[in-house]
C-alpha cells in the first residue's frame, strides 16, 4: 500500500468508528450536508459505516437560497441516488426580511441565514447531535475543536468549557438542553479529502471542475454570475473565464480560481501545488483574524 493509501485507510477507520459511536450514543442525530466535497466524503463514510444497513440518520441542508444552481440539483440527485432522507431548511423570517449577500454585510448575512437557520432546524426537529464535515486544518480555532463537542443551551460553543477528550473513549452524554456537534473527519486535510475522492471514485459537484463560467472581478476575487439576482455594478460585465471552485457556498460570497483542471487527477495535482488555505476563497471569513471563533461561539459549524 502506498503511504497515502495507508494514511487514508487509518483516517477512514477512525471516521467510521466515530460515526458508529454517534449512531449508538444519541437519540436523534443528523448529518449536515452542505453539498461540498467534505459532505460528499462524509456521506460516503456513513454509507460504509452502516452497510448493509441504511444510514440511520437524515441529512440536513441549510439552504440560504443563494447557493449555486448546480449545488441544488446535485444535492437532490445524490440524496435520491443514495436513498438518503434529506431535510432542507431555510430561515424564512430572514428571507422575508430581505437579507441578501449583496446588500447585507457578510457577517450579519451569515449569522441570520446560516447560524440562526441551523439553530432553528436543530430545535425544530429536536436533533441532539449534528455531524459536520469540519476539519482541524481549515482554520486555527478549529484546531482546538473536540471530535465530540458539547454545545450549551442555545447551541453556543464555549471553548473554555470543552470536555477533555482522551484516547478513543468518547463521552457522548448530554445534560438537559445540551446538544453535540460531531466531527468525524477532524484529522483529515484538504489533500486527504481529494485523494480519497479520487481513490474511492466519489462523485463531487461539477463546480469543482474547471469550466467556462460567467465571472466578474471584485477586488482580488472572481465571482460567478449564477443568476439574474446578481447586482452588477454599472461598469461590470460578466466575462467567460475558465474557472473552478475550491469550496462551495453562497455564489455571491464564493470566489472562483482560474484553473484548467477538468479531471479529478488534475484537481488533486493542483491542490497539492497551490499553497493557499482554502477558506481564503470564502469572502465571509477574512474580515478579521478571529472571525471563525466568534461565529462558532454563536453556533456556526
Amino acid at each position: 500500500m502506498s503511504k497515502i493509501a495507508a494514511i487514508l485507510k487509518e483516517l477512514e477507520n477512525e471516521s467510521i468508528e466515530i460515526l458508529r459511536e454517534t449512531a449508538s450514543g444519541f437519540k436523534k442525530p443528523v448529518m449536515m450536508y452542505s453539498i461540498g466535497k467534505d459532505s460528499s466524503v462524509l456521506l460516503h463514510l456513513a454509507r460504509k459505516a452502516f452497510y448493509p444497513s441504511p444510514i440511520p440518520f437524515p441529512l440536513l441542508h441549510i439552504d440560504t437560497t443563494w447557493k449555486f444552481k448546480e449545488m441544488i440539483s446535485f444535492r437532490d440527485r445524490i440524496a435520491a441516488e443514495t436513498k438518503s432522507q434529506l431535510i432542507v431548511h431555510t430561515n424564512q423570517e430572514g428571507k422575508a426580511s430581505g437579507i441578501n449577500p449583496f446588500n447585507t454585510n457578510a457577517s450579519e448575512y451569515t449569522r441570520v441565514m446560516k447560524t440562526v437557520a441551523l439553530r432553528q432546524a436543530l430545535d425544530m426537529h429536536g436533533f441532539d447531535a449534528a455531524i459536520g464535515g469540519s476539519r482541524r486544518d481549515e482554520e486555527k480555532s478549529r484546531a482546538k475543536e473536540r471530535i465530540f463537542s458539547v454545545r450549551d443551551p442555545g447551541h453556543r460553543w464555549n471553548p473554555r468549557e470543552q470536555r477533555p477528550e482522551l484516547w478513543r473513549t468518547y463521552n457522548t452524554r448530554l445534560a438537559p438542553e445540551q446538544t453535540m456537534r460531531v466531527f468525524p473527519i477532524s484529522d483529515w486535510t484538504e489533500a486527504d479529502i481529494w485523494h480519497y475522492i479520487l481513490q474511492e471514485g466519489i462523485e463531487v459537484n461539477p463546480l469543482y471542475f474547471a469550466k467556462e463560467r460567467p465571472m466578474v472581478a471584485r477586488g482580488d476575487q472572481m465571482i460567478m454570475v449564477d443568476d439574474d439576482r446578481f447586482q452588477l455594478r454599472d461598469d461590470e460585465k460578466p466575462t467567460m473565464k475558465m474557472v473552478r471552485f475550491r469550496t462551495l457556498g453562497c455564489y455571491p460570497l464564493t470566489a472562483g480560481v482560474e484553473s484548467t483542471a477538468t479531471t479529478m487527477e488534475e484537481i488533486v495535482e493542483e491542490v497539492l501545488q497551490v499553497k493557499l488555505s482554502e477558506r481564503a476563497t470564502r469572502l465571509i471569513d477574512g474580515e478579521n483574524e478571529d472571525s471563525m471563533e466568534k461565529k462558532k461561539t454563536e453556533g456556526y459549524f
Partner: protein, 607 residues
Amino acid sequence: MSGAIVRLLTCGSVDDGKSTLIGRLLVETDSIPHDTIGAARKVRRSGSTIPAGEIDFSLLTDGLEAEREQGITIDVAYRSMTLLDGKRLIISDAPGHEQYTRNMVVAASRADIGLVLIDAMKGVRTQTLRHLTICSLMGVSRIIIAINKLDAMDYKQEVFDAISADIQRAVARLDVADIHIVPLSALAGDNVVYPSTNMPWYKGQTLQDAIQSWQKPKDVSASGLMRIQMIARADNFRGVSGTVRRGTFTQGEEVTIFPSNQKATISSIVTFEKEINKADTDDAVTLVLTPEVDATRGDVIAVSKDDLVAADRFAAHVVWLNEEPLIHSRSYLMISGPSTTPAIITKIRHKIDVNTGEHISTDTLKMNEIGDVEVASDIPLVMRPYGDDREFGNFILVDRLTLKTVGAGMIRHSLRRSSNVTHQDYEVDKVQRSAQKNQKARVVWLTGLSGSGKSTIANALEKRLFAQGAHAYVLDGDNLRLGLNMDLGFTPEDRAENVRRVSEVAKLMVDSGLIVISALVSPFEVDRQRAKSIFEDGEFLEIFIDTPVEICRSRDPKGLYKKSAAGEIPNFTGVGQDYERPTHPDLVIDGTAPIEESVEKILKILL
C-alpha cells in the same frame, strides 16, 4: 495498523520556544498554507521583537483569541503535517505548566511520541521531570528530548553533554526505554528538519529523523480482539460492528463473546466494497457470526480468551480533570470503549507527585492530581493492564449530574475476578416475599434539611402502614450514625458513604419484601441519584420535605442549629454546606403542612 500516521505530543512552554519549534517544523516541511505564513509576517504579539516581514513562527500554532492575548496556549490544539518521508504527523500541542497537567494528559493519551523541550539556557527543570513523568504514565512509546536555544549558548557541546547527563539521571526512575536527545535551535533552524552546520560535534538524528524513524511497537499477543460498537441489521442480515483493537480476525475462525462466554464462528466479514476474509488491526468492520449469538454493544469478541478477565474491582491510576475534586465513595459513570457502568473509587492509596514521582497519602484528588486508586464498577468489564494495552486499559469517569468528563483512568490490574463472587440465586425471590406480605416492596426516601420534619413524617407513616397490616421499617439517619455509620462524619465524602450504606441496607430490606422509609438529610443530588440507581424502576420514591430553613432553625429539635451558629458544626447542611434541592423528586411535601396531610399524600403514591 500501518503506522502511517504518527501522533506527537509537544511538552514545553512558550518560553522554551515550543510554538516556534512547531512553526518551524510546519514551514520547513511545507505544511502551512502560504497566506497563513503571510499573516505570520504581518501580525505581531504585543512586545514581540521579531522584525516585521520575518515569519513569527510561534503565531502559526496558537489558537483561541483569549489565549493569544495572554501569549500562551491553554488548551490542546491539533496540527497535521506530512513528513518528508510521506508519513503523516499529527501534533497535539498542550501547555506545559503544572496547572495544565490535565491538558497535557489529554494530549498524551493518543501520542506515540512525546517531544520534551528543554531551554539550553536553563537546563533540566522541574517541568522537565513533570513532562517525562506524564509521558511515561500515559504510555508514550518514544521520547524525544529537544535541547533548544543552543544558538544562545554558542552551540557548545559541553552545554549539551551536561544537560544530557542530567536527563539520563532523571529518566532512570521512569519506565521509558526509547529516548532520543537532539540539540537544536528552533529560532535559527538547526537540526529541526535540516542538519546543523553549527554543531559539527553532533552526529545524531535531526528532530524530523527522530520522528520518522519511530515504529509502532508490536503487540506481543496478537490474537484478535474487538468490542462491539453496534449491531448492524438489514433484511436477512445481522452483524456485529466494531473496530479491531488488536490482532486480526479471519473468516471461519472461532471466537468467544464476553461476558456471556458464548462461542461462534465468523461466517463472513462484511465491508461496503466486498466481503473480505481477514480484518486487520484498526479496521472498522462488521462480522457475521454463526450461530447468531445474543450479543450487544459493549460485549467483547476475542479469538483467544487466555488473557481476558471480566472484573469489577480494579487498581488504576486516575488523573483528575475537573475543578471539583474527586469524592471517595461517590458514584461516577465509568466509560470504557462502548461500555458504561456506574463506578466508585473505593480507595485512594496515594497520590503521585508529578514532579518527583513521590507517593503522598491523601483522601481526595484535586484537579491535575494523579492518584493510585481502587475502583469498583457495578458491572464487570473486560479490561487489560494499560501498560500492555492502551485501548483496553483506559477508561474515563463522568460526573453523573453535569455529565462532564472528570477523570481519566489507566488500569494497573484487576483486583479480583468477578466470577469469584457468584451471585446467589435464592429460590424465594423479592416478588414472592412481597406477595406474601400483600404489598409491593419499596423505598420511601425522605430528604430535606435537619428539622424539616423527616423523622416525624417517617414515624407517622410507619404507624399508618402498620395499622393497615403492611410491613414497614424506618431507617433513621441519626440512629444509624450510632451504629452502622458511627465511623462517618459530615464531610461530602462521608455523606456520600453514609447515603451509599443506607441505600444498600434499604436494598436488602426491599429484597426481603419490606417497605423501607429512610429519613436522611442526604443533601447531594448525585448521592441520591446513586442511591436510586441501585433499585429497580419505580421501587425508589424520592420525597422532598420542603421546609424553609428559618422554620427548621426555629424548630431545632436536636439543638443543632444553635451549635452550628456557635461554630461547633462546620459542615452543617443549610449553614456551612449547601443542600441541593432534588431536581426530579417523585413528590414534594410542604414541611409546614399538618403531618397527617403529608402522610396521606405519601400513601397515595405508595399504595
